[in-house]
């Protein structure tokens, strides 16, 4: 998938004189807080949220990391 912003940034890194960078893609990170009864239901809600709102499956993939609040 074409990622022109990532490609332009990769080229800029080359102009810094830092060699070896063959690929750079730009995405986004979304930080959220969620209340759920247990880990499994939190994962289900997150997956639903990512599939139907936070990511567009045509152009984006997603992964999530879940941390329990103290």
């Amino acid at each position: 998938m074409l990622d022109p912003a990532g490609e332009a940034t990769r080229a800029a890194a080359g102009r810094l004189g830092l060699a070896g960078l063959s690929r750079l893609r730009i995405g986004k990170a979304i930080d959220l807080e969620l209340e759920a009864d247990d880990r499994e239901s939190a994962e289900r809600t997150l997956a639903d949220l990512c599939d139907r709102l936070l990511a567009n499956p045509v152009t984006e993939t997603w992964t999530c990391e879940l941390e329990e609040a103290p």
Binding site: L2, P4, A5, L53, L54, N56, V58, T59
Partner: protein
């Protein structure tokens, strides 16, 4: 026969559209607020250009959840004519009424210029007034108009003739130089170029008139 123009917070081509549809073509228009829940009997719906919801998250991603768009979706699925221009096209892809997605222009620039397009009307009712391979000129004005989709989708859309508008000089890097796509039943059309800015010869051309006229059949 009234053309409904949906207004989101951040729409900025809604009045241009009304100027073209009502002012140039003499068709009655009505603005429809995104928060309403009724289409008020309009016979066609236009999603105009602009920056609905500030383009937050992704262009068109939040507009999809506006209460009125539930009605627009039902209207479209029932065969009603729906046109999405620029941001409106982005909204239609986010709604799943049109295939693919619109992403940053290949060269990252906001492009604002007249554009030569090839029309291949195929099943598209809104383009029925144009000849096969007719060349028209509409202006473009967008930063995220690079249309993309996967290989299988692209092949299927070519087969069904839904890739109805193509740039002659692909300014934004769209797959297959695609500028506009219609749905399989031909009643929903989305395009990045602005036909409403090509409805008066004083502004450089009137190629867009037949498209907007087709909103009312």
């Amino acid at each position: 026969m009234t053309v409904g123009i949906v207004v989101f917070p951040g729409s900025n081509c809604d009045r241009d559209m009304a100027w073209a549809v009502q002012g140039c073509l003499g068709l009655p228009t009505r603005f429809l607020w995104h928060g309403d829940t009724e289409l008020n009997g309009v016979s066609a719906v236009v999603l105009p250009g602009g920056f609905s919801y500030g383009d937050y998250l992704r262009c068109g991603a939040l507009a999809r959840f506006a209460p009125l768009l539930r009605e627009v979706e039902a209207f479209a699925r029932g065969g009603g004519p729906v046109l999405g221009v620029c941001n409106g096209f982005q909204v239609l892809t986010e709604m799943g009424l049109l295939p693919g997605a619109l992403t940053r222009n290949r060269d990252l620039h906001f492009l604002c210029e007249p554009c030569d397009l090839d029309v291949e009307p195929g099943p598209c009712r809104l383009l029925a007034g144009y000849g096969s391979r007719e060349q028209v000129q509409f202006p473009i004005a967008h930063g995220e108009g690079c249309w993309q989709c996967d290989d299988g989708t692209f092949a299927a859309l070519e087969q069904t003739g839904q890739l109805v508008l193509r740039y002659r000089s692909n300014p934004n890097g769209s797959r297959g130089a695609v500028a506009g796509v219609c749905n399989a039943t031909g009643n929903v059309l989305g395009l990045m170029p602005h036909p409403e800015r090509a409805c008066d010869p004083l502004l450089g051309g009137a190629d867009g008139r037949r498209l907007l006229q087709a909103l009312v059949g």
